[in-house]
């Protein structure tokens, strides 16, 4: 069967596209590793209109409920390869299923970036975590290192100040990229020490994490921090690996380059949300782009009569 469209991803962008496609009566499927994606991990959300104070999880639940009210049930699987032959997209999944469609919407978002240093994988969940709100409470009265220089690292620092005995924020840059208000708040915490110009080199331990080593860029020395936990918040990696490089739709960061209609240079291929090159990664923006991509697909199918 050749579907009118395949939506890859079931978070803010993908779900918004799906609602528009369904209302138009198109024959489409959604394939996603999970419903809600990164949105569900957003913690407290206070900037999504209509919801003065909610959590990413609650908002993701509402989105899912809305999607399912239209009878759309995403296929839980991972897309590993995408090709285009003639005018038809071929989508291959990890479970070895093949699906075909006339159009494609990529709304796969992003996942936490790794440091790619020794010990990071070995001590994952043995002191290494990418989710402070999940795992920080397990480090009550202990010492942790938070790696990063943006808002997530600063928020983790504030959280750690209330739970842990001591927290280090290890920032590879001389300044924070995060919001000034958060930097000020963290700076006031007596049990939080900020280390600037520090490049994390290694995470070590035995059964669990015992410490990290970092390069002090000021002195060019390798230094050691004894910590029980390491929380890594160094930004997000775009989930666009399955899109072939020869399509020439990705920029240097792996973001999908889209125009204001969320179209790409490949006819019939649209993208929405965090995975696009739009500079601001916000739930509200993903929703808007998802709608634009959905309407773009409808327009494309009407115009091309395929």
């Amino acid at each position: 069967m050749i579907y009118d469209s395949i939506i890859i991803g079931a978070s803010a962008g993908g779900i918004s596209s799906a609602i528009y496609l369904k209302r138009q009566g198109l024959n489409f499927i959604m394939i996603a590793k999970d419903i809600g994606g990164e949105m569900a991990l957003s913690g407290i959300v206070e900037n999504y209109p209509g919801f003065p104070r909610t959590t990413g999880f609650e908002l993701a639940e509402k989105f899912e409920e809305h999607l399912k009210s239209y009878g759309v049930e995403p296929i839980i699987d991972e897309v590993i390869k995408v090709e285009k032959e003639e005018n038809i997209f071929k989508v291959q999944t990890k479970s070895n299923n093949l699906y075909f469609s006339k159009t494609l919407i990529l709304a796969t978002g992003a996942t936490p970036k790794k440091l790619n240093i020794p010990g990071e994988n070995e001590f994952y969940h043995k002191g290494v975590s990418y989710c402070s709100v999940c795992d920080m409470p397990l480090f009550k009265g202990k010492t942790v290192a938070i790696i990063g220089g943006g808002n997530s690292a600063l928020e983790a620092g504030i959280m750690a100040s209330n739970i842990c005995l001591k927290a280090y924020i290890v920032n590879k840059n001389p300044v924070f990229k995060g919001d000034k208000i958060l930097v000020e708040e963290v700076s006031k915490k007596e049990n939080v020490e900020i280390i600037y110009n520090a490049l994390t080199q290694e995470i070590y331990g035995d059964e669990f994490v015992k410490g990290i080593k970092y390069l002090d860029k000021n002195t060019n020395e390798i230094k050691d921090l004894k910590v029980d936990g390491v929380f890594i918040h160094i930004g997000l990696k775009l989930n666009s690996e399955m899109i072939p490089d020869e399509w020439k739709v990705k920029n240097e960061f792996g973001e999908i380059i889209v125009n204001k209609f969320c179209e790409t240079n490949v006819p019939g291929f649209f993208a929405a949300g965090d995975v696009t090159d739009f500079p601001h990664k916000q739930i509200g923006i993903a929703v808007g782009q998802g709608i634009a991509a959905g309407l773009g697909v409808i327009n494309y199918l009407n115009k091309n009569k395929i």
């Binding site: 991990l41 839980i76 969940h125 975590s129 709100v133 999940c134 920080m136």
Partner: protein, 81 residues
């Protein structure tokens, strides 16, 4: 009947997802929020050998234990069969 225990923390979205997943399948469970009781935290580390939540412990009729670490619907389904 199988007994299900989930080790959680208060703000962990994956814990909420795991609970919702089990509820949707009609299972009841006992929640052990490690923030509320440090003994549960120790128990979590002893049982799973790691320090992440959620962890779901499934104990069958014969007392045999199965562990699922993280939010992992496929492994949970398998462990509950």
């Amino acid at each position: 009947m199988k007994k299900i225990i989930i080790y959680t923390t208060s703000w962990c979205p994956w814990c909420q997802k795991t609970k919702k997943f089990l509820e949707n399948l009609g299972y009841s469970y006992e929640e052990r929020n490690v923030e509320l009781n440090p003994e549960w935290g120790k128990e979590l580390i002893e049982k799973s050998g790691q320090m992440g939540v959620p962890v779901t412990l499934i104990i069958d009729e014969n007392g045999k234990e199965k562990l699922v670490i993280g939010y992992d619907p496929l492994s949970l389904k398998e462990a509950l069969e």
